[in-house]
Amino acid sequence: MAEPLSKRLLFVTGKGGVGKSTVAAALGMLAARQGRRTIVAEVAGRDDVARALGDGASPGHAGERQLAERLWTISVDPQAAMEEYLADQLPLRAFADVLGSSRTFSYFAAATPGLRELLCVGKLWELAQPARRTPGASGYDLCVVDAPATGHGLALLRAPQTFAEVARVGPIARHARTISQTLTNSEVTGVIAVARAAEIPVTETLLLQRELRARLGIELDALIVNAVAPHRFAPREIEALTAASEDDRRADHASRHAALRAALGEHVRERGERAQLRRLRRSSGIAPIKLAALLGTASIGVTKCRALADELESQF
C-alpha cells in the first residue's frame, strides 16, 4: 500500500481519541523517510502533530517549520490563510491592504457559510501545489493533513463544494471549484480513516465511508486500526489457562492468579477485537492495516511516532 503516500494531499480522519494525530505524524515521517518532501498540517489551532513529532516548543507557532530531514509541519490558521489568499488573489497589493484593514472582509467571512473552512482547506491545497503560490516557498511532494474527527472532517472536505454552490460566480467560487476538483481527484488526494477495533469506532468508520462516497464521491484509500491487542494464545492454550485459573489449590499464589487473569482478559479483549476487525473488513471491503498497541518507553512522543512509522512501513 505505497499508494496513499504517493498522492500529493492525504487527509487522515476518524473518531476522536483513536490516535489520529499520531498516525498522521507517523505517515508523514514514513513518507519523508522514503524520500518525499513532506509537510504534516493540522487545523483548528492544534499542535498535536508537532508534539507527536517531538517538537515541544512554540505551540501556536504560525508558518512552516522543518523538524527533520524532508519533514515539515504547520498549524493552519484561518486568519493567516485569509490574508495570504487575498494577497494572492488581488492584482494590487493596495487592494489586499484595503480589504485586510477594513474588517469588512472579516465580517463577511464570519457571515458566509463555509468560508472559514474553505480558507483552511485552501491553504492545505496551496501546500500541496507543485509550484507554490506563497512567494519564496518551495514545494512539497506530499501534504498529510491531521483532519478533524469524522463529522467535522467531512465538513472540511465539503467546504469548497458548499462554497462554490453558495457563491456561484466570482473568483472565490472559481477557486473553490478548483479546490473541490483537487479534493475529489483520487490521483491527487487520498483519505485515510483511523479507527480502533471496537464496536463504536468501527460503526463510525463505516458511516464515514458511506458519507464520503455519497456526498463527495470519494473512496477511502486505507483503513488503519490502531492499538490492536496481540493474538497470543491458541484455543488449546486458552483451555489450559482457564483450567489453571479455576484450580483452587494454588489460589493463594497472588501473582500467579493476577497473571492468569491478565492473560485471560487479554484473550477476551483480543477475541472481541478480532470480531470487530472482521466486521470492518467485511462491511468496508477494505483490508485494514493493523497497528499494535505500544507500551512503555515506546509509547511516548517521538519514539512512539517512529515505532508506528516502522510498523506502517512493514505493512505498506
Binding site: G16, G17, G19, T22, R46, F95, V98, L99, S102, R103, T104, F105, Y107, F108, A111, T112, P113, G114, E117, P148, A149, T150, G151, H152, A155, R158, E165, V166, A167, R168, V169, G170, P171, I172, A198, E199, I200, T203, E204, L207, R232, F233, A240, A244, D247, A254, S255, R256, A258, A259, L260, A262, A263, G265, E266, G272, L295, G296, S299, I300
Partner: protein
C-alpha cells in the same frame, strides 16, 4: 440517575451516532423520546425514573427555529428558500453549535427534566460549542450584521452604484451574487434577530448557572489526558463550573514488585515453558499499562484535584450496549467515590 428515579434526558450533539448504538436503538430523533423501560428490564436494570434520549438534527432544528421566530409567513418562506440559508443550515460546521444552543434552550424551557446530560463532540469542538453563545451574541450585536442590514450598507450599495473602494474590491473577490444573496438573507432574518439573541443570552446564562457542571471524561492514555487538562483550563478561564473527571478504561494496578523468575517457574510447572512465557509477556504488558494509567491518574489528581475523580476500570469486553453501560454505571455510582453532588444539569465532554 434515571435508574434511581430522576427524569433524565440524554442529548448528543455529536454528529456521530454513538449514543443510539450504546442504548441499543437504531435511530434517535430530533425530539427527546422516552426509552422503553422494558429494554432496561431485559438487561436486568430496574428503572425507577425515566430516561429520554435525542440526537440533534441541526437542519431540522434550524428550520423549526425559523418557523417559530418568523413574524409572518412571507418572511418565513423567504428565509427557508434562501440559498445561503439552505447551505448554512445543512453544513455541519457552525450550524451544529448554533442549533445545539437553540435545542438546549428548548429542552430547558419546554420540558421538565430533572437532569439534562449533554454529550458534546470531542473536546476541541466542545469548545466551539461553549463559545458559541458569546460569539452569536457578538455577531447579532456587532457590525458584521449591521453592514448587511443598514439601508445605506452593503446591500444598498450593491443594488445601487457600488460606490466605495472596499465594496468594489469585495465585489471583485467574491462575485456580486454572493453579496446580494447575503444581504437579502440577513434582511429576511431581521425580524427574528431578537429571538436568536434571547436564546444565545439565555443559554450562555444556563452554561454558567450554579446548577450546571462539566464533567471531563478521558482515557488514561497520555494524549487524551493532556486534552482533558487543556479543556479544564479553558473551562476555568471561561468561568464555567467543573464537576469532576471520570477516567475511563483504567487498568487495575497490581501492587508489589514482580518476581519474574519465581512466577515463570510457578507457571512453567503447570503450563509448560512456552505457555508460561506467553503468560508472563502478557502480564508484563498489563503491568506496564497499569503503571502508565497510574501515573496518568496521578497527573490528573495533581492538576485537577482528587475530589470528583472517578475511575472506571478497563472491562475485558467492549462497552456498546445496555449491559455494558450498566457495568460502567456500577463503577460510577456503586462505590463510595460517587461524584460530588450530581448537578442538575451536566455537560459531558
Amino acid at each position: 440517575m434515571a435508574a434511581r428515579g430522576a427524569k433524565v434526558a440524554v442529548v448528543t450533539i455529536d454528529p456521530a451516532r454513538r449514543l443510539a448504538t450504546s442504548l441499543g436503538l437504531r435511530e434517535l430523533g430530533n425530539e427527546p423520546r422516552r426509552i422503553d423501560a422494558r429494554r432496561f428490564e431485559r438487561a436486568g436494570i430496574s428503572m425507577q425514573g425515566e430516561l429520554w434520549a435525542m440526537m440533534l438534527d441541526p437542519k431540522r432544528t434550524f428550520d423549526e427555529l425559523i418557523e417559530r421566530l418568523s413574524p409572518d409567513l412571507r418572511s418565513r418562506e423567504e428565509v427557508l428558500s434562501n440559498r445561503i440559508y439552505q447551505e448554512l443550515s445543512s453544513a455541519v460546521a457552525g450550524s451544529q453549535e448554533f442549533t445545539a444552543i437553540a435545542k438546549l434552550y428548548e429542552l430547558d424551557h419546554e420540558h421538565d427534566f430533572d437532569l439534562i446530560v449533554l454529550d458534546t463532540p470531542p473536546s476541541r469542538h466542545a469548545l466551539d460549542f461553549l463559545e458559541a453563545p458569546t460569539r452569536l451574541t457578538q455577531f447579532f450585536e456587532g457590525r458584521a450584521l449591521q453592514v448587511f442590514l443598514r439601508p445605506t450598507g452593503l446591500g444598498m450599495r450593491l443594488v445601487g452604484r457600488g460606490t466605495g473602494l472596499v465594496f468594489s474590491v469585495l465585489k471583485r473577490v467574491t462575485g456580486v451574487d454572493l453579496l446580494a444573496d447575503l444581504s437579502v438573507f440577513f434582511h429576511s432574518l431581521a425580524g427574528m434577530i431578537d429571538g436568536f439573541k434571547e436564546r444565545a443570552v439565555q443559554v450562555e446564562a444556563l452554561l454558567r448557572d450554579a446548577d450546571t457542571s462539566f464533567l471531563l471524561i478521558t482515557s488514561p492514555e497520555p494524549e487524551p489526558v493532556e486534552e482533558a487538562l487543556y479543556f479544564h483550563e479553558r473551562l476555568r478561564i471561561a468561568g464555567m463550573r467543573f464537576g469532576g473527571t471520570i477516567v475511563n478504561r483504567v487498568h487495575h494496578h497490581v501492587p508489589g514488585r514482580l518476581d519474574e523468575a519465581e512466577l515463570r517457574a510457578a507457571l512453567a510447572g503447570e503450563l509448560g515453558e512456552e505457555l508460561a512465557g506467553k503468560v508472563l509477556d502478557s502480564y508484563k504488558e498489563y503491568r506496564a499499562l497499569a503503571a502508565r494509567d497510574r501515573s496518568a491518574i496521578a497527573r490528573v489528581a495533581d492538576r485537577l484535584g482528587s475530589t470528583g475523580l472517578v475511575l472506571v476500570p478497563f472491562l475485558d469486553h467492549d462497552v456498546h450496549d445496555l449491559a455494558g453501560l450498566q457495568e460502567v454505571e456500577r463503577h460510577l455510582f456503586g462505590s463510595e467515590r460517587a461524584p460530588a453532588s450530581p448537578a442538575q444539569r451536566a455537560a459531558v465532554s
